[in-house]
């Protein structure tokens, strides 16, 4: 469908001179954005305006104004097909990996369709494709978290399976671990199995902050005694040989010794971190030592 835009007078796009940081726009951009912003000013909510926002987003997907205007348009169009809008969104997402406006927009559309009417599984392919391109894409993981929350997917086997697969592919993918933490601990019943799960992953790759944070995170959230982890920590160090396969095991041991009131051993752990296994944080380890001594 072709639209007639000949009656619209485009607005100025930062054309005054002299001007700091002036962008010399292409004629195409000037025309599209100039007419788009002009229609927006007149609050025209029409199919031709919608089409113009598609062209605008093709030009610059990170232009938040275009997204806001588009949302106002579809809110005012009768019998608008929100599902085809989601399809269109997906193409834009794939072409603009780092864009985040699109995910907020997608949330608005799904909200519009209504949580009771929408099947969240429909979101899986696009999220998978996006995380395939960047397995730590913060916007996509945030969106995923929103989805789980809104559609109460805490018990969804598919979701657990997905996040397990992501961890399988890269056990250092911290985004996946954070999502897992959110997913699994909506409910206390998973604590035991998750401790076993993460311990296994630590043994697979001991020098990994993501898994250790996850493990310690569980103990803190559910008020468990980390002294229970003493034996586990010793799997990753042989202090007689001065062999350490995880600096995080040293840290955890230090915390355990403090609880056990074995100050000397705690200081010994922090000193090893400071001098050999994690010297970039020497000031922090010194601080830790000073809190024990006082």
């Amino acid at each position: 469908m072709d639209f007639d835009y000949s009656d619209i007078v485009p607005v100025d796009l930062n054309t005054e001179t002299p001007q700091l940081c002036q962008i010399i726009y292409s004629d195409e951009y000037k025309l599209i954005m100039g007419k788009l912003l002009s229609l927006m000013k007149q609050k025209e909510y029409s199919l031709r305006a919608l089409n113009l926002t598609s062209l605008g987003i093709e030009q610059l997907a990170s232009h938040y104004t275009t997204w806001i205007y588009r949302y106002d348009i579809i809110n005012n169009l009768p019998n608008f097909d929100y599902y085809s809008e989601l399809d269109w969104c997906e193409q834009i997402a794939l072409d603009n990996e780092k864009n985040y406006q699109i995910w907020n927009y997608r949330q608005l559309i799904i909200e519009k369709i209504g949580f009771d009417n929408y099947d969240p599984i429909r979101e899986y392919p696009i999220m998978e494709a996006m995380l395939d391109g960047d397995n730590k894409n913060h916007h996509v993981w945030s969106f995923r978290k929103w989805l789980v929350e809104k559609f109460n997917m805490f018990e969804s086997e598919k979701e657990v399976e997905f996040v397990s697969n992501m961890i399988e592919l890269d056990v250092k993918n911290n985004s996946a671990w954070c999502h897992r933490f959110f997913l699994r601990f909506n409910n206390e019943k998973n604590v035991k199995s998750e401790i076993e799960y993460v311990k296994e992953k630590i043994e697979l790759c001991p020098q990994n902050a993501s898994t250790w944070n996850y493990l310690i995170g569980i103990f803190e959230k559910f008020d468990l005694e980390i002294t229970e982890l003493k034996e586990f920590c010793f799997k990753f160090l042989n202090l007689d040989d001065d062999k350490v396969s995880s600096s995080f095991a040293l840290e955890t041991l230090a915390k355990i010794y403090i609880i056990e009131d074995d100050k000397e051993s705690a200081i010994r752990m922090y000193t090893l971190l400071k001098e050999k296994y994690d010297p970039i944080r020497c000031n922090y380890w010194n601080f830790k030592i000073s809190t024990i001594e006082n």
């Binding site: 002036q22 292409s26 730590k136 913060h138 995170g217 922090y284």
Partner: protein
């Protein structure tokens, strides 16, 4: 004439002659205007003797990154700071016209101004009267109906809280208080129109997150338009954004991230009046642990999330939390030399000026500003006073002295512009009391 102005004069002369000859000018200038840092850096890239045999996407990109850094670090004996080249770069950047490919910055006009002008002020370069007029013009073109509909990222666009943040800071940098005074009440009403039960929408139909909250708090504090009504629910919401790792996410239950963590902790210094109150409002120990954990043994610099690569913009997003955390804990906690090495050795463009995210990338305004802001943090020595009369703890920051061998201005860790600009602004909007 001071050494500095002598150097500047000489630079101008050389520029003039070289332009005349039409030759490439930078190699010569490089030689004469860099500040050599005395060789007392006690930091070197270090690989802890921990064998890690696991391989994945993360480890492969980490290993490649280390190789690149190893090249960078092996080539350079002493750190140098090419201050005059950066000033040159910034002035050219501010006054250039950009080809159509730069349309990607079309919703960031106020940000471009903030990044460049803030960098110039940090480098103690004078902003001329003419430039100030142009800064004002540009920002004014983004203010909608005297602020009734907010401030946008470009002429004829829609109001956006982060664009407004950059705009307000830019106006404070050029001491444009009358304009600020004129729009502040309208901005207040605009914020109220974006208010949710617990935060602020970034824009119409937008979402609230730690960043939008931080931006509103900064503007409303600087312009003295904060009210209890505006702040209601905000602190409770911010507390929820701290994750099990210790840092803050954009919203509850999302991954901790350097940018959001900065916004989170800075917001607490706006909302509260004492160090103790901050310490007890959040899980301070885990925030501290997460923050120091951002620094790499081999890299020296900071990353923004667990198991991600180091990037120079976190020199401020994480670096900005250094004076905050250290003054609350009253202890030295970070390794500043490592960060300084990363910024100066790996991210500095010594030919054309500016800073990059990491080796191999191109210079951009954003990373230039936040790398310089990070340098400013570690070059200056901060104190945090608790003044009963102050509106918030953040106003208690002051600079003591510090070594400051780079002779760089002193950025305010919470307001992200030089401290003296914050103080001038405070004097205008709060009076001297």
């Amino acid at each position: 004439m001071s050494n500095n102005s002598k150097r500047n004069q000489k630079l101008k002369d050389i520029n003039y002659i070289i332009k005349l000859l039409g030759r490439k000018r930078y190699p010569i200038i490089t030689e004469m205007t860099s500040t050599e840092i005395s060789n007392k850096s006690n930091w070197k890239p270090y690989n802890p003797p921990i064998k890690d045999t696991y391989t994945s996407l993360t480890t492969v990109s980490q290993d490649e990154f280390h190789k690149v850094l190893s090249d960078e670090y092996s080539q350079i004996e002493n750190m140098k700071f090419y201050k005059d080249i950066h000033v040159d770069y910034l002035n050219v950047a501010l006054n250039s016209k950009y080809p159509s490919g730069f349309k990607s910055l079309d919703a960031n006009h106020t940000w471009m101004i903030y990044w460049l002008v803030n960098s110039l002020v940090l480098l103690k370069s004078e902003i001329t009267k003419d430039t100030k007029v142009l800064v004002r013009d540009k920002i004014e073109s983004c203010i909608i109906d005297d602020g009734i509909h907010g401030i946008s990222g470009g002429r004829n666009q829609i109001g956006h809280v982060a664009s407004a943040y950059a705009a307000i800071l830019s106006l404070i940098l050029i001491e444009e208080y009358e304009l600020l005074n004129r729009i502040k009440d309208n901005l207040y009403n605009w914020f109220m129109s974006l208010k949710t039960d617990y935060g602020f929408r970034m824009h119409e139909h937008g979402e609230s997150d730690t960043r939008s909250i931080y931006c509103v708090l900064i503007i409303s504090t600087l312009l003295n338009i904060k009210t209890e009504e505006l702040m209601s629910g905000v602190i409770e919401n911010l507390k929820c954004c701290q994750t099990f790792e210790g840092g803050f996410g954009n919203v509850e239950n999302c991954e901790a991230h350097g940018g959001y963590t900065y916004c989170g902790i800075a917001s607490f210094l706006i909302l509260l009046k004492s160090k103790n109150a901050v310490k007890h409002s959040i899980n301070f120990d885990s925030l501290l642990y997460w923050s120091v954990s951002r620094q790499g043994n081999y890299e020296g610099g900071f990353n923004g999330r667990t198991n991600k690569l180091v990037d120079s913009c976190y020199s401020f997003w994480i670096g900005g939390t250094i004076p905050i955390l250290e003054s609350i804990e009253e202890n030295k906690l970070f390794q500043n030399d490592g960060l300084k090495n990363y910024i100066l050795t790996c991210c500095q463009n010594d030919i054309n000026g500016g800073f990059i995210d990491k080796p191999g990338r191109k210079v951009d305004f954003y990373h230039t500003n936040y790398a310089l802001s990070g340098l400013s943090i570690i070059e200056n020595e901060y104190v945090l006073n608790e003044n009963e009369s102050d509106d918030c703890l953040a106003f208690g920051f002051d600079v003591s002295d510090g070594l400051n061998e780079l002779d760089i201005g002193c950025i305010h860790p919470v307001f992200a512009i030089p401290i003296e600009k914050v103080n001038e602004c405070k004097e205008f909007f709060y009076g001297n009391d």
